[in-house]
Every structure is written in C-alpha cells, then in structure tokens.
C-alpha cells in the first residue's frame, strides 16, 4: 500500500477528547448513570466500550457493566457468502432489561452491523433504550440508522477504508483513511459492511 494514499485523521489526543466528550454527552442524556450498560461490538468497538466505561467511572465514580458482542450469527449476508465469518464470543453477563444500553462501535458505515447488533440485543431482553455511540461516522448508510453520539464525521468516498488503530492491538492510537486508487476505484463495486 503506497504511503501517499494514507491520511492520519485522528491521533491519540483527538481520540481521547472525542471519547471524553461522548462520555459527557451520555451522562447528560442519561441522568441516572446506574441505569447504563455498555455493549461494544467486537473487536474495536469492544475496546472503545471499555475505555468509555473507564472515563465514565472516573467522572462519576460509577462502575458501568461492559459487555462484548459478536454479530456474526446475525449478519444478513451469511447465505450469500462463500466463507462463513468466524464467530467470536459474545459476553453479556448482565441483564439488559429496562437498562439504557449504549451500543459502541468504531466506524459507522452502511449500518448493517448495527442492524444485526440491535436484533441481537433484543434477543437478550427488552432494554429501556438503545443508544448508539461511534467514534467515526463516514456516511454511506444503506439502512436507516443514525448515531446518538459521534466522535467525528469524516467525508470519504465509498471505496476508501477507514481504520482505527488502538494501543491494545497496535502500537499507538490513531484513525487513518486509506484512499482508494482512483483507477481501481471506478472498476470496483463494494458492497459495504465490515
């Protein structure tokens, strides 16, 4: 991948500020922090979910339960894929009934992942509300889904790739856009989704 096609759009500081603001907004919208639970979509949403919970714990002194969710079994393209997605573990060790669920993912794109996650959460119980928090909204929605809390809105073209690197997996925190090569971009038709 040639370097010139890669733009860094968020560094560690910017990511932390965005998460801190989202944490404040969540607390503003939900007056009782004990009603909150956070569910992160594996893998990167789950990492952000843990960080958000920590920020809220530091602000309010309340431990918010964090769950991890793999949406593989709820995808809408299972029958059309050649290979089956690897199913990872879903760990939701608390009741979601009557809770305000904050669903966390890294990048909001077509909305298909979120649709699958919403269905899965409802199978665990009937929450009071589900609110969506994402670090990056890059547009190109295919389903009618809107985030309640957004770190940054980034204009992209459909074929670009938006990548979140995190300290937990890579060396540093950053968000980068890999710009699609103009020539190949025209030929390619992406279906979107993760």
């Amino acid at each position: 991948m040639p370097e010139k096609n890669v733009d860094i759009i968020m560094d560690e500081k910017k990511i932390n500020r965005a998460l801190t603001r989202i944490a404040h907004e969540i607390l503003e919208q939900n007056s009782d922090p004990t009603s909150l639970v956070i569910i992160g979509i594996i893998t990167r949403g789950a990492i952000l979910a843990k960080r958000l919970a920590k920020i809220i714990a530091d602000l309010e002194g309340v431990e918010i339960p964090v769950g991890l969710m793999d949406i593989g079994l709820y995808r809408d393209d299972i029958q059309s894929n050649l290979d089956q997605p690897i199913v990872q573990r879903t760990d939701i060790l608390f009741a979601v009934v009557n809770k305000n669920v904050i669903l966390v993912d890294d990048v909001l794109f077509t909305g298909r992942t979120i649709r699958a996650a919403l269905n899965q959460i409802v199978d665990f119980g009937r929450p009071k509300t589900i609110q969506l928090a994402v670090l990056i909204d890059r547009g190109f929605r295919e389903y009618p889904i809107k985030a309640d809390y957004v770190g940054v809105n980034i204009p992209t073209s459909r074929e670009d790739k938006v990548l979140l690197h995190v300290k937990e997996k890579e060396k540093s925190d950053k968000v980068s856009i890999v710009r699609a090569d103009k020539k190949t971009a025209k030929k390619k038709t992406t279906k979107g989704g993760k």
Partner: protein
C-alpha cells in the same frame, strides 16, 4: 472468514487438524449461545435440513434437531418406521424424491457403512454423517473432543483410553482418527474377541487388561457394551465383562488425579460403568450432551456457506 476443506462431514479419517480445530473453536461461541435466555440465533434462516434416520436414535436425533432449530433452520424428520421405505423403496429413490423437494442439508444415520458418501454422489445437499454402520460417527467424536479440549485446553500430552467394542464401535473409530489428528495419545482396551483384525493399523496402544490401560491415563471414554453382541458369543456373560472391563471406583484410582470420565450414552449402569463412577465428580457425561448441541450447531453453521460454481 473461515471455511472447512470439505462441504460434507462424512468422517474424521483424513479430516485435517485445521478443520477439527475450527469446529471446536466455533463450538465455543455456540456454547455461549446455549447459556443465553433466548437460545436461538437467526443464522440459518431459510435453510432446510432433513434428518434422515434409518436407525433408532434418541440423543443424536434430538440434539441435531435442537441444534437446527436454535439456528433457525427449517427441519424435517424422516424415520423409516413411518415412511415408504417400509413399502420397499430404495435409498437412492427415497433420496432423489426428497432432493426434488429442494433441501439444503441432510443429516443421515444409516446401518450401512458408506451410506452418507453414497448420498453425496446423488444429491447436491451438504451431507452430515450421524452414524453409518460400524464406520464413523464424527459429531459424537467431535463433541467428545470438545469436552476434553474445554477441560484441559489442549490435546498434546493427554492420554485418552477408549474402552469397549473396538471392532464394531463407530464412536471409537471416529475418536481414534480425530484424537490422533490433534496430537493426543490414544489407547484402546476391550476383550480380544472385540478387537478388529489388524487393530495395530490404528497406530494406538492396544490393551486387553483394563488396569494396564488405565494406568496413568487422563481421560477414559467408556462405550456402551452392546448387549446384542452377547448373543453372538463375543463375550461369555455381562458379569464377566463387568469383572474384566467395568469401570469402577477402585479402577479409576489408577487414573491421573485430574482425570475425566466420559460415556457417549446410553449407559448400561453396573455393566460397563458403575453408578458411582458415572455420577462421580470427574464424570462429564451430561456436559457431553450439552456440548453436543454446540458442536452440532458449529458443524451446521460451518457447512452452510454458499458454494462456488462448479465446486464439488
């Protein structure tokens, strides 16, 4: 993305280690689904599965049917006693008629070795072997292996003893291939009349003395002694089998401290296994049943992917 090397599960002989481990790892995710309040996921919506059982079965059949339902597949059950097989229809004709009804997957149990393979030759559906003659019973072996893997987290260095009718047991056969592929050490033990010719070709340690077989082993998987074999004169009496091969409280003292007792069911309590051992703290016999569902869900899920054009 993951994909098994075959679109059917006919047996574990020649099944690559990577496939086995992929099934076991995927089973772990489905094991979690079974702990949920709603034990159902929409994954196989629109997929039709036929359970084609030419032999009696309670556990395997219910387990497959539940696994299919928990994945939201549509299921059809077929048993010979209520079907046109009674009117003399051949397997091939039965299958071709069923195929004409547009099925996606078939789970088959049949008294003849190779019946599942035969189906792959005359149907487009994915075929899962649920036991064929004295050949293989791959999902049973996979659930045994998953149960071992879940407890010990590994296979290398473990010694597994399979006790019973080595000659006729398809569960033992599948266990041998599977366990050897993932690197466990396998020992076989049974009466010499129930050892197959050329048993050494399995490449396992073979014992006719149970105490020698159990000495220092980690897992003992006890097979049901098929009482109908007694009429065939394979062993003199049930009591003699119990005396020579029965797994008792005294005998399991020979095993390693952190040992595991397994039995695929149905058990003859007091014959091949004593009640104290079957209900003891090291017994995982009921876990096997629960794990069986997760393993069967994993197999159905992994085989259900769409195939490439011209893919065999």
């Amino acid at each position: 993305m993951s994909r098994l090397s075959s679109r059917h599960l006919l047996g574990l002989e020649d099944c690559p280690k990577e496939d086995i481990m992929m099934i076991l790892e995927t089973s772990n995710s489905f094991r979690e689904v079974l702990e949920r309040k709603v034990k159902k996921v929409p994954t196989l919506r629109g997929v039709t599965v036929l359970n084609l059982f030419y032999e009696n079965s309670t556990r395997t059949r219910i387990s497959f049917e539940l696994a299919e339902k928990r994945l939201s597949a549509d299921t059809i059950n077929f048993s010979t006693s209520t079907s046109s097989v009674k009117k003399g229809e051949s397997l091939r004709d039965t299958v071709e008629n069923i195929e004409a009804m547009k099925l996606d997957m078939v789970v088959v149990r049949h008294g003849s070795t190779g019946a599942p393979y035969f189906l792959t030759q005359c149907m487009d559906a994915n075929i899962i072997n649920a036991g064929d003659g004295a050949h293989e019973h791959p999902t049973q072996a996979l659930l045994d292996m998953y149960t071992i893997w879940k407890k010990y987290g590994k296979f290398a260095g473990l010694r597994v003893v399979l006790v019973g009718d080595i000659k006729h047991s398809r569960v033992i056969r599948s266990n041998i291939w599977g366990l050897k592929a993932v690197g466990a050490s396998v020992a076989l033990c049974g009466p010499s009349t129930l050892l197959p010719v050329e048993v050494e070709k399995f490449g396992c340690d073979v014992y006719t003395n149970i105490d020698e077989a159990l000495d220092g082993a980690d897992v003992v998987n006890v097979m049901r002694i098929q009482l109908e074999r007694q009429q065939g004169g394979m062993f003199p009496s049930q009591r003699e089998y119990t005396n020579l091969f029965g797994i008792t409280k005294e005998r399991i003292k020979l095993l390693n401290k952190n040992h595991t007792i397994m039995h695929p069911g149905p058990m003859n309590r007091g014959v091949e296994i004593s009640s104290e051992v079957a209900d003891g703290k090291n017994s995982v016999i009921l876990d096997q049943v629960t794990n069986g569902q997760a393993v069967r869900m994993a197999v159905l899920y992994l085989l259900s992917g769409k195939q490439e054009e011209g893919d065999e």
